[in-house]
Each structure stands twice: as C-alpha cells, then as structure tokens.
Symmetry: C2
Subunit: 440 residues, 2 copies
Amino acid sequence: MDEVMEMPPGRKPDIDVRRAYEKKIAPLSLTERKDELLKQYEEYKKQGLKLDMSRGKPGSDQLDLSMDLFKYAKNLVSEDGIDCRNYGAMDGIIEAKRLFASLFNLSVDQIIVGGNSSLNLMYDLISKALLLGLNGFKQPWGKQGKLKFLCPSPGYDRHFAITEQFGFDLITIPMTSEGPDMDMVEELVSKDPSVKGMWSIPMYSNPTGITLSDRVVRRLAAMKTAADDFIIMWDNAYQFHHLYETQDTLLDLIEECRRAGHPHRAYMFSSTSKITFPGAGIAVVASSPENIAYLKKQIAIQTIGFDKINQMLHVRFLKDPENLKEHMKKQAGFLRPKFETVFNILEKNLGGKNIAYWHKPRGGYFISFNVMKGCARRVVELAKEAGVTLTPAGATFPYGNDPDDTNIRLAPSYPPIDELEKAIEILCVCVEIAALERLQ
Amino acid sequence: MDEVMEMPPGRKPDIDVRRAYEKKIAPLSLTERKDELLKQYEEYKKQGLKLDMSRGKPGSDQLDLSMDLFKYAKNLVSEDGIDCRNYGAMDGIIEAKRLFASLFNLSVDQIIVGGNSSLNLMYDLISKALLLGLNGFKQPWGKQGKLKFLCPSPGYDRHFAITEQFGFDLITIPMTSEGPDMDMVEELVSKDPSVKGMWSIPMYSNPTGITLSDRVVRRLAAMKTAADDFIIMWDNAYQFHHLYETQDTLLDLIEECRRAGHPHRAYMFSSTSKITFPGAGIAVVASSPENIAYLKKQIAIQTIGFDKINQMLHVRFLKDPENLKEHMKKQAGFLRPKFETVFNILEKNLGGKNIAYWHKPRGGYFISFNVMKGCARRVVELAKEAGVTLTPAGATFPYGNDPDDTNIRLAPSYPPIDELEKAIEILCVCVEIAALERLQ
C-alpha cells in the first residue's frame, strides 16, 4: 500500500522533547519558565473571564448575512402548484431538490430534502437500519446480534454518540493526512460481517480539517465488505465552507460507489446549518435512486412532510450554486480572520517548542490541536479554571476516550476576535504548563 | 358497566331496511329510483370533475390567516439570551414551552417543543420505546418478542401505519359515543402483557368527531395493565379546533394518570399544524416531568435542536391562549359553513332513508360517515369514477380493513364551498346507488 502521512501526533514527554524544549526557552530553566507561566496564569484567572471555544457555532455577524431570507415569505407556492403552507410533498419541494442536486451533481431522484437537522436524518437512517432494514438488506441490523461501527478519529462526537446509544461497538480508526487509515478499514470490513458501517466527514473534517484524498474515496468505494449491508455515513457538512481561494476538492463517493459496483453503499448528508442558520436551515440525504425510493416509502410512515416554507425561503434566498458560493465567500470573510488569529498566536507562543502540533485547514469550522501525550485533559482543565471553555478532551474519540490523551478540538468561529485572542493566549499558557508538569 | 351508546353504525341490507327505504322513495320502485340515480350519475361523470375530499387540509383562506407570522422575523433572541438563529436549546425556547404549558395546564418541565410534525414525534417515541426503552421500562420493547397495540376504530390511518410498520399486531377497538369501548380495553390490557400501548385522538377525534367522556378518560388513567411499560399515545390534535360556541371539553389525561397512581402512562402530542401551517408549524410532546427528562436525554443524541426561529415566530404571532382562541374562531369561520354544507346536503338527500348515518361533531376536521354494510368500498369507487376523491374505504381501520365495509371519512375543510356542494351531491347519489345494488 502507498505510504500515507500520519496526522501531526502528540509527542511522548521523552528526553528528546525535553532537550529541544529547554533549548527553545533558554536561558530560562524549566522551573523558571514554569514560574513565569504560572504567574501569567494566575493573572488570567483573576480577570474572571468567560470565553467559550467549545462549539462550532457561527458568529452573529455570520447569521446576519442570511436575514434577508424572510423577505421571501409571500406567494409560497412551488412551481408544480404545491402550497408550501399546507401538507404534502413529503420528500421536499422540487425547487429544493433541484438546488441540492445541482450543488452535489446528483439527480433529483437521489435526494430527499428533510427538516432542520442533518444529524437527525443520520440518526433516523441508523434507527431505520436497525428496526426495518434499508434497501437491499436481507434483515434489519437489529436482528443480527452485536454489531460494530467504524469511527475515524479524531472525529465528530455526535456521530459516535448515535452509534453508541444504539449499542454498536465503536472501533477507532486512526486518521492520516488523507483520511481514515484505509489499510485498517479494509482489513476490518473484509473479515468481519458484523462491521456494518463507517462514519466520515469527508471534507474539511471535524475536527482534523483534512479532506479525503481521491485514492481514499476510491478505496472506500471499491473495497470488498464481508457484510452485504455495509453503509458509509458520508456527512458532507462542509463542502462549500472554504476559507481561501485555494480550495480542497472532494471526489463524489456516490458516483465512485456506482462505478465500483457498490451503488447502494453510500448515504450522503448535508445541510445549510452553516450556510444560513444552524438548527433552522434545511437538511438533505442523498444516495442511489433505489436507496432513496426505498427510504421515501419508509419516511412516508414517519411524517406527512418536512417544513416546505423553510425550504422555499432557502431556495429563494440561496438561488443557485453560484450565488451560494458568493454567499459562502462572505461567510469566509468573517471566519478566515478568526482562524488566522488562532494560527498566529499558536505559532508565536508554541512554534518550534515541540510540545503541540496543529493542522491549518483550508475550510470547515475546526482546528485539530494535539498537545503532548497525556496532557489534553489537563490543558482543558487548566483552561476551564482560567475561564476558557474548550471542547472536552477525548470528545473527538469513541466513548470520549482519546487513548493518547492528546487531541483538543478548537472551534474559533463563535467568539469575537478580541475574545478569541485572549482565549488562545490563555490556551498556550495552559499547554506549556501541562507540558512542564510532565517534562519536569 | 355503564351502558354506552354505540356510534351510528352501518346497517345490514335486510328486509326492514328495504321496506323503510321503499316507503321513503315511493311512488318510485327500487328499479325506477335506480334508473333515475344512474342518469344523474352519468351526467356528473360527463362533467369531468376533479374534486378532492380525501385529506384534512385547511383551505388557503385559513392559511392566509397566519401570514403575519413572518413579520416577526427580527431580533430573534429569546428572553434568556438564546439566539434562535444558532444551535442550542434542544428542548425548545422557554417562550414556546411556556405557551404550550399554559394551553394545556402543564408545567414547562413536562414539555418538549419539537419540529414541524407531531406525527414524527409519535413515530420517534415508538421507535425509541422499541430500540432504547422509555422512562421506567425494564427492557426496550424490541427485546420482548411480538407485541400488540390497541387501535380504537374508526381512527387515524397514520397512527395505525406507524405501529404496523414496526411490526405490532394491531387490535381494533370499537368506538362508542364516549370513546373506545372501555370494557374491551380493560379486558385486553389487564390480561396480556404484550399489549404495550393504545392510540387515541381524545378530542374531536379523527374521524368520528367525538370527544372522550370524563369517565372514559378516568378509566384509561385508572385501569390496571399487565404490562408495566404500557403507554397511551394521546394525540391531542384538535383541542382548540371548535366549530361552535358550544364546545366539547376534555379531561386532562396526564393529570388523571398522576392521580390514579400511573403518572408515566400518558404521552400527549399536539401541534399548530391546523392552527398556523400544516407541516410548517411547531409540535409538542408532553408527559410527566420524569418521562420528559428521560426523553430529553435521548433526544440530545438525535439532534442539536429543533427549529427555534419557527418557534419564536409562532410564539410572537399566537401570543397567548386568549389570542390563540380568537385566532381559532377565525379558522372556524371558514370551516363551519363547510361542515354545515355537508350536513345540509346529506340530510336533504339521505335523511330518513336508513341507508347512511353520520355524526355532527362540534369541532375537528372530519365527519365520520357510515353507509350500508358492505357498501363503503363501492361508494368510494363510484365517487372516484365521477371525479370525487374520498379517503379510501377501510383507511380508518387497522390494516385498511373495515370488517363491515361501512365507514367513510369525509374531510370537508379543503375544497371551496361550491366544489364541496357538488362533491356531496355526487356522494349522495353514489351512496344510494350502492345501497340499491344491495337491496335489489
């Protein structure tokens, strides 16, 4: 197999790391440096700050960008005569299906436009796979005993929580710079029919920020699985969420699966949560026409339909892919300076010290930040005491258990820049204190 | 047990019915009357009509009543500082919880304000009961083998479809004029631990239009059940949907269950689907504080939250119970003439003929119409051929199977009055033709 680069890892607090660090802080000794940091830390604590970097929430200025959406709330009839204010059109209005189809290069029969939450659509799909079975299943998963789900990590805690709640064994798959470790994935899925699925955020992943390489996508599409009801949960949340002109690109898994002879393997999810309003946008599930036709029949029992008024408002506001991309540039205008603030302060305070590593993503909402092994929980704890709330250490791993205790997810989108600066300055102090506690 | 009146039933096409009918149509003979009707029927057919009375959808004029809702789409921050445009407040904004609490005499900790569909909340609850178990369950239903659900009928096809899809045996419970036949309910639930729940639309029921009497509600609350995880699905969809000043009243099942020592038995559902916009309103689930606390923890895995913008728009538009009741009087202003059109035409054409019976509800969206036994399918078929779409015969019974083939659900809300008049005139002709086919 081709060699793939590991994601920047946490380092063991070994003698080499200590020597390199000592060189960097010279002429101060470890003890002197620690005293200096503790003094700074105590001063931060006195300020009684309340800064929150835990959640990937857009800032209010980003939300203001979409307030014009409501001005379209009149004549709410779709082009095929459906009154969006009344029952009907269970799988979404045609205008909304067409918008998503053009955004993702799909046909409208591959799409259901749902409600306000793609996470809810994912939960529903797993729930239906367990209770009813999906298209092509010989038997619902719920009748097949103890099952396993693959969880590329660091990953999204809410994905893992769904499969944990439903009783799957969660298997941690390490992330490389190209995506999940495909050697391990192929090994597991080829041998074990109880491995039923895999989570993936393929583009600007939460939290690593990386985008799956073409060859990883092709391997996911082509691999042989022992389970004939194996599915990939493709949470394409950030496909349009670029920070820069230079953008990552992602291969279309649904199309690659079709070409590889596994047309029903991939279920793609997306939403406008970080395009318009988190929790008040519209969500979508897409797959092969056969999978979607089957799913529509099941969903017809669950609901008379999703909120078509909100679908129509979104279509009228977002208009078309070109306009949506312009809108996302405005979003990036708010986000980019926040990401760069974080990069700059991290570099200034921790660069070259060998005690923390991070990736600079070209899009998405997160920075994956790796501190010295065994230090992540301590860093989050120290930050908390100084008034900075971070995502809990371990949250990015199944069962909240980061085996190296090294990964912290930074979410720079929500705080205003001045608060963000302060929060990252404090974070850097905490990282260094935690490292010194281990190095000394 | 107290004597309860049966709902107006279909009649067998026996000799007494025939004699009574002959008297009514005299001096015409059965054959002459049939020829007359068939002539009328052929004339209707020639008109190429397309009239739809199948769905309980509000008319466009009713929907126009709520269009002011969108003018409140600014400053979308709740009183406790939550930006409705962003993530958070999984169980709904406090303003929405308070509105529903005051409407249903509940405390805010008994309520989750959900998305756009109460049916979806019901589906979710049954799904969770199967996969995870609800508060107080020793084991999820899904691990307990073959289960049964009680279905008072005529009832709501979409209720029955949920429990059918999930593999329950559906048990038909006849409806009396006070609600489900409680002798039969008590008999079944007391002896059989596989009877896990019961559907109910307690007020202005779909389709019977009746409201459960106080003693029926008290018996539901008090009855002993063999299953300690028995629940009542209380779909309180029409509590505020009165047609007249004289209104039905409904006892509070959640409170009665608490008093009777079964505080966790009842789950109540409601929505604004027929208050504001069907499919674009807000829905609610309510129960004991313990049930709701348990459910909140489960839902926190399923979604980050429901659409809070729509919740805020609804609260600002509906304001308070008094204002909502005034709003519903305006809705009734559109609905009442439609119901009375149906009653008048039915009475004019079929009154005293002994071949059809109907109930005049004081609220809700439906008229339960009973034709001669064995004739309902034929009537729906005849109407269809003449361009009038009715709810399929049998739809109001589990598995779509009305054992007497007698019940038809009439939904007068959607068509304009002139169309409605024509549709009911045609219906009456079809009813009489079908009866004559049996009587001759």
